[in-house]
Protein backbone atom coordinates (compact mmCIF):
# COMPACT_ATOMS: atom_id res chain seq x y z
CA UNK A 1 0.00 0.00 0.00
CA UNK A 2 1.64 3.20 -1.10
CA UNK A 3 1.20 6.56 0.53
CA UNK A 4 -0.06 8.11 -2.68
CA UNK A 5 -2.77 5.50 -3.11
CA UNK A 6 -4.12 5.89 0.38
CA UNK A 7 -4.40 9.66 0.36
CA UNK A 8 -5.56 11.24 -2.90
CA UNK A 9 -3.94 14.63 -3.37
CA UNK A 10 -6.00 17.77 -3.64
CA UNK A 11 -6.75 18.78 -7.23
CA UNK A 12 -4.81 21.49 -9.08
CA UNK A 13 -1.55 20.46 -7.61
CA UNK A 14 1.17 19.35 -9.97
CA UNK A 15 0.63 15.65 -9.76
CA UNK A 16 3.80 14.28 -8.22
CA UNK A 17 5.03 17.35 -6.40
CA UNK A 18 4.96 16.43 -2.73
CA UNK A 19 6.42 13.00 -3.50
CA UNK A 20 8.98 14.45 -5.87
CA UNK A 21 10.18 16.75 -3.15
CA UNK A 22 10.41 13.98 -0.61
CA UNK A 23 12.34 11.72 -2.92
CA UNK A 24 13.79 13.02 -6.17
CA UNK A 25 14.58 10.69 -9.03
CA UNK A 26 18.03 10.14 -7.59
CA UNK A 27 16.48 9.33 -4.23
CA UNK A 28 14.24 6.70 -5.77
CA UNK A 29 17.18 5.07 -7.51
CA UNK A 30 19.05 4.97 -4.20
CA UNK A 31 16.03 3.28 -2.57
CA UNK A 32 15.88 0.60 -5.25
CA UNK A 33 19.62 -0.02 -5.15
CA UNK A 34 19.60 -0.29 -1.35
CA UNK A 35 16.62 -2.65 -1.21
CA UNK A 36 17.68 -4.89 -4.08
CA UNK A 37 21.22 -4.98 -2.69
CA UNK A 38 20.00 -6.00 0.76
CA UNK A 39 17.68 -8.55 -0.82
CA UNK A 40 20.58 -10.14 -2.68
CA UNK A 41 22.78 -10.19 0.43
CA UNK A 42 19.96 -11.87 2.35
CA UNK A 43 19.27 -14.40 -0.39
CA UNK A 44 22.80 -15.49 -1.25
CA UNK A 45 23.59 -17.56 1.87
CA UNK A 46 20.52 -19.83 1.61
CA UNK A 47 20.69 -19.92 -2.18
CA UNK A 48 24.29 -21.14 -1.97
CA UNK A 49 23.31 -23.89 0.43
CA UNK A 50 20.35 -24.91 -1.72
CA UNK A 51 22.39 -25.13 -4.93
CA UNK A 52 25.27 -26.91 -3.23
CA UNK A 53 22.90 -29.55 -1.92
CA UNK A 54 22.14 -30.61 -5.51
CA UNK A 55 25.74 -30.67 -6.79
CA UNK A 56 27.90 -33.78 -7.11
CA UNK A 57 30.56 -33.87 -4.34
CA UNK A 58 33.36 -33.87 -6.92
CA UNK A 59 32.10 -30.58 -8.37
CA UNK A 60 31.68 -28.96 -4.94
CA UNK A 61 35.35 -29.55 -4.21
CA UNK A 62 36.67 -27.82 -7.32
CA UNK A 63 34.28 -25.00 -8.23
CA UNK A 64 32.02 -22.55 -6.40
CA UNK A 65 28.26 -23.11 -6.37
CA UNK A 66 27.83 -19.86 -8.29
CA UNK A 67 29.59 -21.38 -11.32
CA UNK A 68 26.97 -24.11 -11.57
CA UNK A 69 24.35 -21.46 -12.34
CA UNK A 70 25.89 -21.39 -15.80
CA UNK A 71 26.96 -25.03 -16.12
CA UNK A 72 24.19 -26.85 -14.34
CA UNK A 73 24.85 -30.45 -13.38
CA UNK A 74 22.77 -31.65 -10.50
CA UNK A 75 22.19 -34.88 -8.59
CA UNK A 76 19.81 -36.38 -6.07
CA UNK A 77 22.66 -38.39 -4.61
CA UNK A 78 23.41 -36.13 -1.63
CA UNK A 79 19.83 -36.31 -0.40
CA UNK A 80 19.71 -40.06 -0.92
CA UNK A 81 22.91 -40.52 1.05
CA UNK A 82 21.97 -38.23 3.91
CA UNK A 83 18.45 -39.67 4.27
CA UNK A 84 19.55 -43.29 4.33
CA UNK A 85 23.20 -43.70 5.31
CA UNK A 86 23.22 -40.76 7.73
CA UNK A 87 19.82 -41.60 9.19
CA UNK A 88 18.12 -38.30 8.42
CA UNK A 89 14.99 -40.19 7.37
CA UNK A 90 14.69 -41.49 10.90
CA UNK A 91 15.48 -38.03 12.33
CA UNK A 92 12.78 -36.47 10.20
CA UNK A 93 10.22 -38.81 11.73
CA UNK A 94 11.64 -38.08 15.20
CA UNK A 95 11.33 -34.34 14.60
CA UNK A 96 7.64 -34.83 13.78
CA UNK A 97 7.11 -37.12 16.78
CA UNK A 98 8.66 -34.50 19.04
CA UNK A 99 7.05 -31.46 17.49
CA UNK A 100 3.38 -32.37 17.09
CA UNK A 101 2.58 -33.22 20.75
CA UNK A 102 4.88 -30.41 21.91
CA UNK A 103 2.69 -28.04 19.92
CA UNK A 104 -0.72 -29.44 20.87
CA UNK A 105 -0.18 -29.82 24.64
CA UNK A 106 0.91 -26.26 25.49
CA UNK A 107 -1.82 -24.73 23.33
CA UNK A 108 -4.52 -26.77 25.04
CA UNK A 109 -3.28 -25.92 28.51
CA UNK A 110 -2.65 -22.28 27.60
CA UNK A 111 -6.12 -21.86 26.10
CA UNK A 112 -7.70 -22.99 29.36
CA UNK A 113 -5.40 -20.85 31.49
CA UNK A 114 -5.56 -17.83 29.17
CA UNK A 115 -9.36 -17.94 29.28
CA UNK A 116 -9.35 -18.03 33.08
CA UNK A 117 -6.84 -15.17 33.28
CA UNK A 118 -9.01 -13.11 30.93
CA UNK A 119 -12.58 -13.79 32.04
CA UNK A 120 -12.77 -15.70 35.31
CA UNK A 121 -12.25 -14.26 38.78
CA UNK A 122 -10.03 -15.93 41.31
CA UNK A 123 -7.81 -14.92 44.15
CA UNK A 124 -4.31 -13.89 43.10
CA UNK A 125 -5.16 -13.83 39.41
CA UNK A 126 -3.31 -10.63 38.57
CA UNK A 127 -0.22 -11.55 40.58
CA UNK A 128 -0.08 -14.96 38.90
CA UNK A 129 -0.32 -13.37 35.48
CA UNK A 130 2.56 -11.03 36.31
CA UNK A 131 4.58 -14.12 37.20
CA UNK A 132 3.73 -15.59 33.79
CA UNK A 133 5.06 -12.40 32.17
CA UNK A 134 8.24 -12.65 34.20
CA UNK A 135 8.67 -16.29 33.18
CA UNK A 136 8.52 -15.22 29.52
CA UNK A 137 12.00 -13.81 29.90
CA UNK A 138 13.64 -16.21 32.35
CA UNK A 139 16.53 -17.84 30.44
CA UNK A 140 16.11 -21.59 30.02
CA UNK A 141 19.76 -21.87 31.00
CA UNK A 142 18.62 -21.21 34.55
CA UNK A 143 16.40 -24.32 34.50
CA UNK A 144 18.27 -27.02 32.59
CA UNK A 145 20.32 -28.61 35.37
CA UNK A 146 17.46 -29.10 37.88
CA UNK A 147 15.04 -30.26 35.16
CA UNK A 148 17.57 -32.80 33.93
CA UNK A 149 18.04 -34.00 37.50
CA UNK A 150 14.28 -34.34 37.80
CA UNK A 151 14.19 -36.33 34.55
CA UNK A 152 17.11 -38.54 35.52
CA UNK A 153 15.49 -39.59 38.77
CA UNK A 154 11.93 -38.35 39.29
CA UNK A 155 11.37 -40.42 42.43
CA UNK A 156 14.47 -39.09 44.13
CA UNK A 157 13.87 -35.53 42.93
CA UNK A 158 10.47 -35.39 44.63
CA UNK A 159 11.82 -37.26 47.70
CA UNK A 160 9.39 -40.13 47.14
CA UNK A 161 11.87 -42.94 47.79
CA UNK A 162 9.93 -43.97 50.87
CA UNK A 163 6.87 -44.98 48.81
CA UNK A 164 7.39 -48.76 48.56
CA UNK A 165 6.16 -49.52 45.03
CA UNK A 166 7.67 -46.37 43.47
CA UNK A 167 11.27 -47.22 44.26
CA UNK A 168 10.98 -50.37 42.15
CA UNK A 169 9.87 -48.77 38.85
CA UNK A 170 12.08 -46.91 36.40
CA UNK A 171 10.44 -43.55 35.85
CA UNK A 172 13.43 -42.00 34.09
CA UNK A 173 12.28 -39.35 31.62
CA UNK A 174 15.67 -38.50 30.13
CA UNK A 175 15.87 -39.80 26.58
CA UNK A 176 12.11 -40.31 26.32
CA UNK A 177 9.69 -38.52 24.05
CA UNK A 178 7.38 -37.95 27.00
CA UNK A 179 10.16 -36.02 28.76
CA UNK A 180 10.81 -33.69 25.87
CA UNK A 181 7.08 -33.14 25.28
CA UNK A 182 6.71 -32.10 28.91
CA UNK A 183 9.74 -29.82 28.75
CA UNK A 184 8.56 -28.07 25.58
CA UNK A 185 5.09 -27.74 27.08
CA UNK A 186 6.44 -26.13 30.24
CA UNK A 187 8.80 -23.85 28.34
CA UNK A 188 6.18 -22.90 25.74
CA UNK A 189 3.44 -22.07 28.22
CA UNK A 190 4.40 -18.51 29.27
CA UNK A 191 4.30 -17.18 25.71
CA UNK A 192 1.17 -19.19 24.86
CA UNK A 193 -0.73 -18.03 27.96
CA UNK A 194 0.39 -14.44 27.44
CA UNK A 195 -0.70 -14.37 23.80
CA UNK A 196 -4.06 -16.11 24.31
CA UNK A 197 -4.99 -14.19 27.46
CA UNK A 198 -4.40 -10.93 25.60
CA UNK A 199 -6.45 -12.18 22.70
CA UNK A 200 -9.36 -13.40 24.85
CA UNK A 201 -9.53 -10.17 26.80
CA UNK A 202 -9.81 -8.19 23.57
CA UNK A 203 -13.11 -9.96 22.74
CA UNK A 204 -16.21 -7.85 23.48
CA UNK A 205 -17.40 -8.19 27.07
CA UNK A 206 -21.09 -8.20 26.06
CA UNK A 207 -20.59 -11.54 24.37
CA UNK A 208 -19.64 -13.19 27.62
CA UNK A 209 -22.19 -11.34 29.72
CA UNK A 210 -25.15 -12.17 27.51
CA UNK A 211 -24.12 -15.83 27.35
CA UNK A 212 -23.98 -15.83 31.14
CA UNK A 213 -27.44 -14.32 31.38
CA UNK A 214 -28.71 -17.05 29.04
CA UNK A 215 -27.44 -19.53 31.58
CA UNK A 216 -24.33 -20.80 29.80
CA UNK A 217 -21.68 -22.34 31.99
CA UNK A 218 -18.11 -21.10 31.98
CA UNK A 219 -17.01 -24.19 30.16
CA UNK A 220 -19.70 -23.78 27.50
CA UNK A 221 -18.70 -20.15 27.02
CA UNK A 222 -15.11 -21.27 26.64
CA UNK A 223 -15.77 -24.00 24.08
CA UNK A 224 -18.63 -22.38 22.15
CA UNK A 225 -17.69 -18.69 22.16
CA UNK A 226 -14.09 -18.04 23.16
CA UNK A 227 -12.43 -20.87 21.22
CA UNK A 228 -14.28 -20.52 17.89
CA UNK A 229 -13.60 -16.78 17.88
CA UNK A 230 -9.89 -17.22 18.52
CA UNK A 231 -9.05 -19.59 15.68
CA UNK A 232 -6.70 -17.03 14.05
CA UNK A 233 -4.85 -16.48 17.34
CA UNK A 234 -4.64 -20.22 17.98
CA UNK A 235 -3.31 -20.72 14.45
CA UNK A 236 -0.59 -18.09 14.89
CA UNK A 237 0.38 -19.62 18.19
CA UNK A 238 0.41 -23.15 16.77
CA UNK A 239 2.71 -22.04 13.96
CA UNK A 240 5.09 -20.32 16.40
CA UNK A 241 5.27 -23.21 18.79
CA UNK A 242 5.67 -25.67 15.90
CA UNK A 243 8.59 -23.67 14.49
CA UNK A 244 10.16 -23.18 17.87
CA UNK A 245 10.13 -26.89 18.68
CA UNK A 246 11.05 -28.04 15.17
CA UNK A 247 14.04 -25.70 15.17
CA UNK A 248 15.09 -26.39 18.75
CA UNK A 249 18.54 -27.82 19.24
CA UNK A 250 19.39 -27.20 22.90
CA UNK A 251 16.48 -28.95 24.62
CA UNK A 252 16.77 -32.00 22.37
CA UNK A 253 20.50 -32.10 22.99
CA UNK A 254 20.07 -31.94 26.76
CA UNK A 255 16.96 -34.05 27.37
CA UNK A 256 17.03 -36.60 24.52
CA UNK A 257 20.44 -38.16 24.91
CA UNK A 258 19.49 -41.12 22.72
CA UNK A 259 20.89 -41.52 19.21
CA UNK A 260 17.79 -43.29 17.92
CA UNK A 261 15.51 -40.43 18.99
CA UNK A 262 17.53 -37.58 17.52
CA UNK A 263 15.59 -34.85 15.74
CA UNK A 264 17.02 -33.25 12.59
CA UNK A 265 18.76 -30.39 14.40
CA UNK A 266 20.78 -32.76 16.58
CA UNK A 267 21.67 -34.92 13.57
CA UNK A 268 23.01 -31.86 11.74
CA UNK A 269 25.06 -30.88 14.74
CA UNK A 270 26.49 -34.39 14.96
CA UNK A 271 27.24 -34.33 11.22
CA UNK A 272 29.26 -31.12 11.63
CA UNK A 273 31.19 -32.75 14.44
CA UNK A 274 32.12 -35.88 12.53
CA UNK A 275 32.16 -34.73 8.89
CA UNK A 276 33.08 -31.07 9.26
CA UNK A 277 34.11 -30.67 5.62
CA UNK A 278 31.66 -32.99 3.88
CA UNK A 279 29.81 -30.08 2.37
CA UNK A 280 27.50 -32.14 0.19
CA UNK A 281 26.09 -33.99 3.22
CA UNK A 282 25.84 -30.86 5.35
CA UNK A 283 24.06 -28.93 2.62
CA UNK A 284 21.49 -31.64 1.91
CA UNK A 285 20.97 -32.30 5.62
CA UNK A 286 20.52 -28.63 6.47
CA UNK A 287 18.09 -28.18 3.62
CA UNK A 288 15.99 -31.10 4.81
CA UNK A 289 15.76 -29.41 8.23
CA UNK A 290 14.76 -26.12 6.62
CA UNK A 291 12.19 -27.55 4.21
CA UNK A 292 9.33 -27.97 6.68
CA UNK A 293 9.50 -24.48 8.25
CA UNK A 294 9.88 -22.95 4.80
CA UNK A 295 6.77 -24.75 3.54
CA UNK A 296 4.80 -23.70 6.62
CA UNK A 297 6.00 -20.12 6.24
CA UNK A 298 5.07 -19.74 2.60
CA UNK A 299 1.72 -21.45 3.07
CA UNK A 300 0.71 -19.50 6.19
CA UNK A 301 2.60 -16.22 5.91
CA UNK A 302 -0.22 -13.97 7.12
CA UNK A 303 -0.59 -15.83 10.43
CA UNK A 304 3.08 -15.25 11.00
CA UNK A 305 2.97 -11.51 10.69
CA UNK A 306 -0.11 -11.38 12.89
CA UNK A 307 1.52 -13.46 15.59
CA UNK A 308 4.71 -11.45 15.57
CA UNK A 309 3.05 -8.10 15.90
CA UNK A 310 0.83 -9.49 18.68
CA UNK A 311 3.61 -10.56 21.01
CA UNK A 312 7.11 -9.56 20.15
CA UNK A 313 8.82 -10.51 23.39
CA UNK A 314 9.30 -14.27 23.23
CA UNK A 315 12.90 -14.97 24.17
Amino acid sequence: MSVAGAHPRPPFQASARPRARVFGRLGRIVIHVALVGLGIVWLIPSLGLFITSWRPPADIAVSGWWTSLFRPEYTLGNYRQVLTAQGFGRSFVNSLLITVPSTVFPIMLAALAGYAFAWLRFRGRDTLFLIVIALLIVPLEATWVPVLRMFNNPVGYFRLDWVPFLSGIDLRLTGSFLGIWLAHTGYGLPFAIYLLRNFFISLPRELFESAKIDGASNFAIFTRIALPLSVPALASLAIFQFMWVWNDLMNALIFLQDVTKRPLTVSIQALIGSYGAEWHLLAAGAFITMSVPLLVFFALQRYFVRGITAGAIKG
Partner: protein, 302 residues
Protein backbone atom coordinates in the same frame (compact mmCIF):
# COMPACT_ATOMS: atom_id res chain seq x y z
CA UNK B 1 -25.69 -25.94 29.00
CA UNK B 2 -27.45 -27.04 32.10
CA UNK B 3 -24.78 -29.53 33.08
CA UNK B 4 -24.17 -27.49 36.17
CA UNK B 5 -20.44 -27.01 35.70
CA UNK B 6 -20.88 -23.37 36.65
CA UNK B 7 -19.64 -24.24 40.08
CA UNK B 8 -16.27 -25.40 38.76
CA UNK B 9 -13.60 -23.39 40.32
CA UNK B 10 -11.57 -21.28 37.89
CA UNK B 11 -8.59 -23.09 39.34
CA UNK B 12 -9.43 -26.12 37.25
CA UNK B 13 -8.59 -24.00 34.19
CA UNK B 14 -5.28 -22.67 35.46
CA UNK B 15 -3.93 -25.49 37.61
CA UNK B 16 -2.52 -27.78 34.88
CA UNK B 17 -0.61 -24.87 33.36
CA UNK B 18 0.54 -23.53 36.73
CA UNK B 19 1.77 -26.97 37.74
CA UNK B 20 3.98 -27.25 34.66
CA UNK B 21 5.24 -23.68 35.03
CA UNK B 22 6.13 -24.52 38.60
CA UNK B 23 7.93 -27.76 37.67
CA UNK B 24 9.83 -26.50 34.65
CA UNK B 25 10.50 -22.83 35.36
CA UNK B 26 9.88 -21.59 38.88
CA UNK B 27 11.34 -24.39 41.02
CA UNK B 28 14.30 -25.13 38.71
CA UNK B 29 15.28 -21.46 38.70
CA UNK B 30 15.28 -21.35 42.50
CA UNK B 31 17.24 -24.60 42.61
CA UNK B 32 19.79 -23.25 40.16
CA UNK B 33 20.42 -20.30 42.46
CA UNK B 34 20.96 -22.74 45.33
CA UNK B 35 23.19 -24.98 43.17
CA UNK B 36 25.34 -22.02 42.21
CA UNK B 37 26.54 -21.91 45.82
CA UNK B 38 27.89 -25.45 45.53
CA UNK B 39 31.09 -26.87 44.11
CA UNK B 40 32.52 -30.10 42.82
CA UNK B 41 32.07 -32.10 39.64
CA UNK B 42 29.11 -34.13 38.49
CA UNK B 43 25.46 -33.41 38.26
CA UNK B 44 24.55 -33.19 41.92
CA UNK B 45 27.16 -31.02 43.58
CA UNK B 46 26.73 -31.16 47.33
CA UNK B 47 29.67 -29.25 48.73
CA UNK B 48 28.59 -25.81 49.88
CA UNK B 49 31.13 -23.18 48.83
CA UNK B 50 29.26 -19.91 49.32
CA UNK B 51 30.02 -17.30 46.70
CA UNK B 52 33.26 -18.93 45.63
CA UNK B 53 31.97 -19.83 42.14
CA UNK B 54 31.17 -16.19 41.51
CA UNK B 55 34.54 -15.01 42.77
CA UNK B 56 36.25 -17.55 40.55
CA UNK B 57 34.11 -16.53 37.57
CA UNK B 58 34.87 -12.84 37.75
CA UNK B 59 38.45 -12.89 38.95
CA UNK B 60 40.15 -16.11 37.85
CA UNK B 61 38.29 -17.38 34.76
CA UNK B 62 39.97 -15.60 31.88
CA UNK B 63 37.55 -17.19 29.37
CA UNK B 64 34.72 -15.51 31.25
CA UNK B 65 36.25 -12.11 31.93
CA UNK B 66 39.85 -11.05 31.51
CA UNK B 67 40.76 -7.46 32.29
CA UNK B 68 44.51 -8.02 32.59
CA UNK B 69 45.41 -6.78 29.17
CA UNK B 70 43.93 -4.31 26.74
CA UNK B 71 41.52 -4.89 25.06
CA UNK B 72 39.63 -6.90 27.71
CA UNK B 73 38.36 -10.28 26.57
CA UNK B 74 36.19 -13.21 27.59
CA UNK B 75 32.55 -14.21 27.37
CA UNK B 76 31.31 -11.07 29.14
CA UNK B 77 33.15 -8.80 26.71
CA UNK B 78 31.90 -10.84 23.74
CA UNK B 79 28.37 -10.50 25.04
CA UNK B 80 28.77 -6.74 25.31
CA UNK B 81 29.82 -6.80 21.66
CA UNK B 82 26.72 -8.86 20.85
CA UNK B 83 24.53 -6.44 22.79
CA UNK B 84 25.82 -3.40 20.94
CA UNK B 85 26.35 -4.66 17.41
CA UNK B 86 23.57 -7.23 17.20
CA UNK B 87 20.93 -4.96 18.73
CA UNK B 88 22.11 -1.93 16.76
CA UNK B 89 22.39 -3.89 13.53
CA UNK B 90 19.00 -5.61 13.64
CA UNK B 91 17.09 -2.52 14.78
CA UNK B 92 18.66 -0.09 12.31
CA UNK B 93 18.52 -2.46 9.33
CA UNK B 94 14.98 -3.50 10.21
CA UNK B 95 13.90 0.13 10.44
CA UNK B 96 15.66 1.04 7.20
CA UNK B 97 14.01 -1.79 5.27
CA UNK B 98 10.60 -1.12 6.85
CA UNK B 99 10.68 2.54 5.82
CA UNK B 100 12.19 2.08 2.35
CA UNK B 101 10.13 -0.96 1.37
CA UNK B 102 6.97 1.05 2.08
CA UNK B 103 7.72 3.07 -1.06
CA UNK B 104 8.20 0.29 -3.60
CA UNK B 105 5.80 -2.02 -5.38
CA UNK B 106 7.76 -5.18 -4.58
CA UNK B 107 7.39 -4.62 -0.83
CA UNK B 108 5.87 -8.08 -0.05
CA UNK B 109 8.67 -9.80 -1.95
CA UNK B 110 11.55 -7.98 -0.26
CA UNK B 111 9.95 -8.48 3.14
CA UNK B 112 9.57 -12.22 2.56
CA UNK B 113 13.23 -12.45 1.51
CA UNK B 114 14.42 -10.66 4.65
CA UNK B 115 12.08 -12.65 6.90
CA UNK B 116 12.93 -16.17 5.68
CA UNK B 117 16.01 -16.62 7.93
CA UNK B 118 13.70 -16.19 10.97
CA UNK B 119 12.00 -19.51 10.24
CA UNK B 120 15.23 -21.47 9.74
CA UNK B 121 16.77 -23.20 12.75
CA UNK B 122 19.95 -21.77 14.23
CA UNK B 123 21.52 -25.14 13.44
CA UNK B 124 20.79 -24.82 9.72
CA UNK B 125 21.89 -21.18 9.80
CA UNK B 126 25.16 -22.33 11.31
CA UNK B 127 25.71 -24.70 8.40
CA UNK B 128 24.81 -21.93 5.95
CA UNK B 129 27.33 -19.53 7.45
CA UNK B 130 30.05 -22.14 7.76
CA UNK B 131 29.72 -22.21 3.97
CA UNK B 132 29.55 -18.45 3.60
CA UNK B 133 32.61 -17.81 5.77
CA UNK B 134 34.71 -20.76 4.58
CA UNK B 135 38.34 -19.87 3.84
CA UNK B 136 38.18 -22.22 0.84
CA UNK B 137 37.47 -19.83 -2.07
CA UNK B 138 35.38 -22.40 -3.97
CA UNK B 139 33.12 -22.82 -0.92
CA UNK B 140 33.06 -19.48 0.88
CA UNK B 141 31.22 -16.82 -1.07
CA UNK B 142 32.61 -13.96 1.06
CA UNK B 143 36.20 -14.90 0.28
CA UNK B 144 35.34 -15.60 -3.36
CA UNK B 145 33.87 -12.11 -3.68
CA UNK B 146 36.83 -10.48 -1.92
CA UNK B 147 39.32 -12.33 -4.12
CA UNK B 148 37.39 -11.37 -7.24
CA UNK B 149 37.84 -7.72 -6.24
CA UNK B 150 41.38 -7.99 -4.78
CA UNK B 151 43.07 -10.87 -6.65
CA UNK B 152 46.15 -10.84 -4.41
CA UNK B 153 44.24 -11.26 -1.17
CA UNK B 154 44.80 -14.30 1.01
CA UNK B 155 41.48 -15.98 1.93
CA UNK B 156 40.32 -14.76 5.35
CA UNK B 157 39.43 -17.49 7.92
CA UNK B 158 36.47 -15.56 9.36
CA UNK B 159 35.62 -18.19 11.96
CA UNK B 160 39.22 -19.20 12.59
CA UNK B 161 40.72 -15.92 13.73
CA UNK B 162 40.18 -14.68 17.28
CA UNK B 163 39.90 -11.06 16.16
CA UNK B 164 37.19 -11.73 13.57
CA UNK B 165 35.11 -14.60 14.90
CA UNK B 166 32.73 -12.53 17.04
CA UNK B 167 31.99 -10.09 14.24
CA UNK B 168 31.36 -13.01 11.87
CA UNK B 169 28.97 -14.67 14.34
CA UNK B 170 27.14 -11.41 14.99
CA UNK B 171 26.77 -11.00 11.22
CA UNK B 172 24.98 -14.35 11.08
CA UNK B 173 22.82 -13.30 14.03
CA UNK B 174 21.83 -10.08 12.27
CA UNK B 175 20.97 -12.09 9.16
CA UNK B 176 18.53 -14.16 11.24
CA UNK B 177 16.84 -11.51 13.35
CA UNK B 178 16.54 -8.44 11.10
CA UNK B 179 13.32 -9.92 9.69
CA UNK B 180 11.66 -9.74 13.09
CA UNK B 181 12.68 -6.11 13.64
CA UNK B 182 11.51 -5.23 10.14
CA UNK B 183 8.09 -6.86 10.59
CA UNK B 184 7.30 -5.15 13.89
CA UNK B 185 8.67 -1.77 12.80
CA UNK B 186 6.91 -1.94 9.44
CA UNK B 187 3.56 -2.52 11.16
CA UNK B 188 4.30 0.46 13.44
CA UNK B 189 5.38 2.64 10.52
CA UNK B 190 2.20 1.89 8.57
CA UNK B 191 0.06 2.87 11.52
CA UNK B 192 1.67 6.32 11.81
CA UNK B 193 -0.46 9.32 11.00
CA UNK B 194 0.28 9.86 7.32
CA UNK B 195 -1.00 13.42 7.38
CA UNK B 196 1.81 14.52 9.65
CA UNK B 197 4.40 13.02 7.31
CA UNK B 198 2.77 14.55 4.25
CA UNK B 199 2.42 17.92 5.92
CA UNK B 200 6.15 17.88 6.56
CA UNK B 201 6.76 17.12 2.92
CA UNK B 202 4.44 19.87 1.75
CA UNK B 203 6.23 22.28 4.09
CA UNK B 204 9.42 21.49 2.25
CA UNK B 205 11.13 19.14 4.65
CA UNK B 206 13.54 16.78 2.94
CA UNK B 207 13.13 13.03 3.27
CA UNK B 208 16.16 13.01 5.53
CA UNK B 209 14.74 15.70 7.83
CA UNK B 210 11.31 14.06 7.90
CA UNK B 211 12.87 10.78 8.94
CA UNK B 212 15.05 12.15 11.77
CA UNK B 213 12.70 14.82 13.09
CA UNK B 214 9.28 13.20 12.66
CA UNK B 215 9.27 9.50 11.78
CA UNK B 216 11.92 8.45 14.29
CA UNK B 217 10.49 10.30 17.31
CA UNK B 218 7.01 8.99 16.50
CA UNK B 219 8.31 5.42 16.42
CA UNK B 220 10.38 5.52 19.56
CA UNK B 221 8.08 3.14 21.49
CA UNK B 222 8.04 0.28 18.93
CA UNK B 223 11.77 0.75 18.39
CA UNK B 224 12.26 0.35 22.14
CA UNK B 225 10.14 -2.83 22.18
CA UNK B 226 12.18 -4.36 19.36
CA UNK B 227 15.46 -3.30 20.96
CA UNK B 228 14.48 -4.99 24.24
CA UNK B 229 13.65 -8.20 22.32
CA UNK B 230 17.05 -8.08 20.65
CA UNK B 231 18.85 -7.41 23.93
CA UNK B 232 17.22 -10.55 25.36
CA UNK B 233 18.29 -12.53 22.29
CA UNK B 234 21.84 -11.22 22.53
CA UNK B 235 22.09 -12.10 26.23
CA UNK B 236 20.85 -15.65 25.59
CA UNK B 237 22.95 -16.23 22.47
CA UNK B 238 24.01 -19.86 22.56
CA UNK B 239 23.07 -22.24 19.74
CA UNK B 240 24.73 -20.29 16.91
CA UNK B 241 27.99 -20.17 18.85
CA UNK B 242 27.77 -23.82 19.86
CA UNK B 243 27.21 -25.13 16.34
CA UNK B 244 29.41 -22.72 14.39
CA UNK B 245 32.52 -22.44 16.55
CA UNK B 246 32.05 -24.35 19.84
CA UNK B 247 33.22 -21.15 21.47
CA UNK B 248 36.52 -21.17 19.59
CA UNK B 249 39.03 -20.58 18.18
CA UNK B 250 40.92 -20.61 21.47
CA UNK B 251 37.68 -19.81 23.36
CA UNK B 252 37.48 -16.42 21.66
CA UNK B 253 33.79 -16.58 20.77
CA UNK B 254 32.31 -17.76 24.07
CA UNK B 255 29.20 -15.98 25.29
CA UNK B 256 27.73 -16.05 28.79
CA UNK B 257 25.02 -18.57 27.84
CA UNK B 258 27.59 -20.68 26.00
CA UNK B 259 29.80 -20.69 29.09
CA UNK B 260 26.90 -21.98 31.17
CA UNK B 261 26.23 -24.83 28.74
CA UNK B 262 29.92 -25.69 28.36
CA UNK B 263 30.75 -25.73 32.06
CA UNK B 264 27.75 -27.93 32.89
CA UNK B 265 27.53 -30.32 29.96
CA UNK B 266 31.11 -30.46 28.72
CA UNK B 267 33.13 -29.91 31.89
CA UNK B 268 30.60 -31.48 34.31
CA UNK B 269 30.76 -28.46 36.63
CA UNK B 270 27.06 -28.14 37.43
CA UNK B 271 27.58 -25.74 40.35
CA UNK B 272 29.94 -23.50 38.45
CA UNK B 273 27.70 -23.51 35.36
CA UNK B 274 24.73 -22.66 37.58
CA UNK B 275 26.58 -19.57 38.79
CA UNK B 276 26.90 -18.50 35.15
CA UNK B 277 23.16 -19.09 34.69
CA UNK B 278 22.47 -16.89 37.72
CA UNK B 279 24.62 -14.12 36.21
CA UNK B 280 22.41 -14.38 33.13
CA UNK B 281 19.33 -14.26 35.31
CA UNK B 282 20.57 -11.11 37.04
CA UNK B 283 21.24 -9.51 33.66
CA UNK B 284 17.70 -10.13 32.40
CA UNK B 285 16.06 -9.15 35.70
CA UNK B 286 15.78 -5.42 34.81
CA UNK B 287 14.07 -6.42 31.56
CA UNK B 288 11.56 -8.49 33.51
CA UNK B 289 10.74 -5.47 35.66
CA UNK B 290 10.48 -3.31 32.55
CA UNK B 291 8.08 -5.76 30.89
CA UNK B 292 5.89 -5.88 34.00
CA UNK B 293 5.75 -2.09 34.15
CA UNK B 294 4.87 -1.92 30.47
CA UNK B 295 2.12 -4.47 30.96
CA UNK B 296 0.67 -2.57 33.92
CA UNK B 297 0.64 0.64 31.90
CA UNK B 298 -1.18 -1.11 29.06
CA UNK B 299 -3.73 -2.61 31.44
CA UNK B 300 -4.42 0.79 32.96
CA UNK B 301 -5.45 1.98 29.51
CA UNK B 302 -7.75 -0.95 28.87
Amino acid sequence: MSRGDRGWSPWVYVLPALLLLMLFLVLPTIQTIWLSLHGGTGFSPTQYVGLQNYVQLFTRDRFFLSLDEWPPSGAVVNNVLWLLLFTGGTVSLGLLIAVLADRVRYEPLIKAVIFVPMVISATATSVIFRFVYSPDPVIGVVNAALIAIFPNLEPVPWLGRTSLVNIALIGAGIWIWTGLAMTVLSAAYKSLDREVLEAAAVDGASAWQTFWRITLPMMIVPIGVVAVTMVINALKMLDLVLVMTQGGPRNASRTIAFTMFWEVFNNSLAGYGSAVAVVLLILVAPIILLQIRRFRAEEALR
